[in-house]
């Protein structure tokens, strides 16, 4: 009968998967794909809450330099290898060793030593204090491969993932990844789907067509302007949730006129955030009410919002000595969405006499013009329209790379060249402890100061939009843009 019919799920992705070795991945999409097969000690649930997966519990010392984990028993990899402390050690040592040149090495860069205490207990000793280690371990980059597979496939592991996850690898050609049900999955009753196909369909319109024809049951992302097409179809359902992607314009605080905080504040006042959400995201965006999006840990909504106020903006500009505004150049990536956002900002600022030249940059040119600049004085960037998704889900990764005084390019991404001692101290304090109370305080201070200094024009937080068939349940599109399909089912 129909009960036996295989359940096949097709997911339409916007891009190609690069590799399936998460330790060597930096794109959310490939991470989502790996996550169908691989798991780490920790993970995030659908609400971006940290949850233990292959770890059952942990202990940590006061200085946040030594973590001990108890591991889950009776878990085997898809190839039959048992999961144990040795497997974890093999994976973590591999990731931490710079000689392996893995893109996610930084996740465990602070690791000094891994000690296998017993088969199911492992201790990680850190070279310096690091309070957010569990978050790092929850990052897909720290997911665990079968040690046997690592040995067998070596460099090719990215084409032959073997993990403990709900699905097993079947095939991966050009733009289609196929996985199938792991019958021996350690979570009872899961997974419910027999086959999952992840297919890259770069054209938005085609992706929606796939959903409409039921060739796919889930597609993402859904451009905001196409939401209507999903809503118009009663077989389909819209997924609409806040993301952790902050949109802002970084202002080079070392360059005139942006070195004057009044100017920066003026720019913030000159932008109608509601209109931004409406024009650029068709309304599917929320406010960026602090330096980090509200979905990120330790976020604090700032009390003094920069509400749209042209008079105030003009007054501030005049006060700063620019009564007639000024001219400036704004960089930004060359995607349709970025260009749209930039044009919006351009138009808004023109109301207070600020004339912007918008220069879209191709990705490579961007690295050359912005990220590879060695000395702050050499920077040509005045304003940079950007977005940031803190993939660890933690305030640290939302602030440190972007606003830390020691994080100027090329080291990090502080393209505002923003340096404030209060902020720097707070960011450093936040990472030096695993005590949540202390961390919360540190990040509160940092956020407050940043908001006042306004090194950015705070624009908004876009929503995650996706379309799915109403038949599909238990399939989650998480705030960091990742997919979770362990519990997925087709009615």
């Amino acid at each position: 009968g129909p009960a036996f019919a295989a359940k096949d799920l097709v997911v339409g992705l916007p891009d190609n998967i690069t590799t399936l070795d998460p330790a060597d991945i930096n794109d959310t999409l490939s991470q989502s794909a790996s996550r169908t097969m691989l798991q780490g000690l920790f993970g995030f649930d659908k609400d971006m809450k940290l949850v233990p997966l292959l770890a059952e519990s942990f202990t940590v010392n006061d200085t946040a330099t030594e973590y001990t984990y108890r591991l889950r028993k009776n878990v085997t990899f898809h190839d039959g290898t048992p999961f144990n402390a040795q497997a974890v050690k093999t994976n973590f040592d591999r990731l931490a060793n710079p000689a392996n040149r893995l893109k996610r090495q930084s996740l465990l860069a602070m690791l000094a030593e891994t000690v296998v205490v017993d088969d199911y207990t492992i201790t990680l000793k850190l070279a310096q204090p690091f309070g957010a280690l569990n978050n790092n371990l929850a990052h897909p980059g720290a997911m665990i491969h079968s040690p046997k597979a690592l040995e067998t496939y070596g460099k090719e592991i990215g084409r032959h993932p073997v993990g403990t996850g709900p699905y097993k690898f079947v095939s991966w050609e050009a733009d289609t990844l196929k996985v199938e049900k792991n019958d021996k999955y350690w979570k009872p009753g899961l997974p419910k789907i027999d086959h999952v196909t992840l297919k890259s369909v770069p054209e938005n319109g085609s992706r929606i067509a796939m959903l409409q024809t039921n060739e796919a049951q889930f597609i993402y992302p859904l451009p905001s302007e196409m939401v209507k097409m999903v809503e118009a179809n009663n077989q389909l359902e819209l997924i609409d949730a806040p993301s952790i992607v902050a949109r802002y314009v970084a202002l080079n605080t070392m360059k005139k006129p942006f070195n004057d905080p009044r100017v920066r504040q003026a720019l913030n006042y000159a932008i109608d955030k509601n209109a931004y959400a409406k024009v650029v995201y068709r309304g599917y965006a929320g406010p960026l009410d602090s330096a980090i999006p509200s979905k990120l840990g330790f976020h604090v909504t700032q009390p003094n919002q920069y509400t749209y106020d042209l008079a105030k903006a003009k007054a501030l500009l005049a006060e700063a000595g620019y009564p007639n505004g000024f001219e400036a150049e704004m960089f930004g990536r060359n995607s349709t969405n970025f260009i749209r956002g930039m044009q919006f900002v351009q138009q808004q600022l023109s109301q207070i006499g600020v004339k912007l030249t918008v220069t879209p940059l191709e990705s490579g040119v961007e690295t050359a013009r912005i990220w590879s600049v060695e000395k702050p004085e050499d920077a040509t960037v005045q304003m940079n329209y950007s977005g940031w998704s803190a993939s660890t889900g933690d305030a640290d990764w939302g602030l440190r790379p972007l606003l830390w005084g020691k994080g100027f390019p090329p080291k990090f991404y502080n393209v505002a060249y923003y340096k404030n001692d209060t902020v720097d101290t707070a960011i450093e304090a936040g990472i030096a402890t695993a005590d949540d109370a202390k961390r919360a305080e540190a990040y509160r201070v940092a956020q407050e100061q940043i908001w006042k200094d306004a090194p950015w024009i705070f624009l908004g937080v876009e929503n995650l939009l996706a379309g799915k068939s109403k038949k599909l349940t238990g399939f989650y599109y998480v705030a960091d843009g990742g997919l979770q399909m362990e519990e997925a089912d087709l009615q």
Binding site: E225, N334, R340, Q343, T357, P360, V365
Partner: protein
């Protein structure tokens, strides 16, 4: 004296003297009603582009956040785009950029390509090999790479788009002209010209080039459309017209995401491109036919 005209020609004969090539061309061209219509369309378009500041109903950059993506209406004949800008006004202004990029780049690239193709085909030997291998590489060289290179060296700007797009056209024209040259240079009349003492350069320009022109005209008229679209993809990598200046191709690309939701955003720029390209092509056919002495 013997004469050759038959009876009834006497009247016509007196008019013979005024049959200058230009008039002859015009006489033949005028009779091609489609081409004339196309020519008038283009003329109108050029005039409209020139007069855009006066005839465009709105400021092409004026936002109106209350009228986003509205379909055609009495106020906005072609509707509004994602910023509530008037699409018709943008098309009118955009004609300036798109037409000049389309035309100039093709003329530039076509000119260079035709010259290279002529030389390669006519001279043969190592010159031919050299030019053609360079063309092979240019053909194989991905446009985006070249464009990124151009931005890197020359910086952004409409003028540089013209160069960029022109470069793409060179090898195609070169190969096209070379092919025709190879067969035309065997013609007896080329030998005849040589026997008169016409030097090679003149021989190419005067006796071979005209024979390649039909193909060249046809390709020029087609290439203009392609160039308008190519220019748009260049503006995407930051080479072309910078936002928010309207440019047809960019408008089209921008509206791509609204297909099925607000189709007019792509439809009208698309229509503008379509009609322009159509007009250029029909005009091209008319030119081609009018320049062909064997057609009456």
């Amino acid at each position: 004296m013997t004469t050759t005209d038959a009876t009834g020609v006497a009247a016509a004969a007196t008019h013979e003297a005024v049959r200058s090539p230009l008039r002859e061309f015009w006489r033949k061209f005028r009779r091609n009603r489609t081409a004339m219509a196309a020519g008038f369309c283009l003329l109108a378009l050029v005039l409209a582009a020139a007069a855009a500041p006066w005839i465009a109903p709105f400021d092409p950059a004026a936002f109106d956040y209350d009228r986003i993506l509205e379909g055609p209406s009495a106020g906005h004949w072609a509707g509004t785009d994602a910023y509530g800008r008037d699409i018709l006004s943008r098309i009118l202004w955009g004609a300036r950029i798109s037409l000049s990029v389309g035309l100039l780049s093709v003329l530039l690239g076509g000119g260079a390509g035709v010259a290279l193709g002529l030389i390669a085909g006519f001279r043969g030997g190592w010159i031919d090999s050299l030019i053609m291998r360079v063309c092979d590489v240019l053909l194989a060289f991905p446009g985006i790479l070249l464009a990124i290179g151009i931005v890197a060296v020359l910086g952004p700007g409409v003028e540089n788009v013209i160069y960029g797009v022109a470069i793409f056209s060179v090898p195609v024209f070169a190969r096209l002209v070379r092919g025709s040259t190879l067969s035309l240079k065997r013609a007896v009349y080329v030998d005849a010209a040589r026997a008169i003492g016409v030097r090679d350069r003149l021989l190419m320009v005067r006796h071979i080039l005209p024979g390649t022109l039909p193909s060249v005209i046809v390709y020029v008229s087609m290439r203009i459309g392609t160039s308008i679209l190519t220019a748009a993809s260049l503006s995407f990598i930051g080479l072309g017209a910078q936002p928010p200046s309207p440019e047809w191709g960019a408008m089209l690309a921008d509206g791509r995401s609204y297909i099925g939701v607000a189709s007019h955003v792509t439809f009208y720029p698309g229509l503008a491109i379509f009609l322009t390209v159509l007009a250029f092509n029909l005009l091209g056919d008319g030119l081609r036919d009018a320049l062909d002495p064997k057609l009456r």
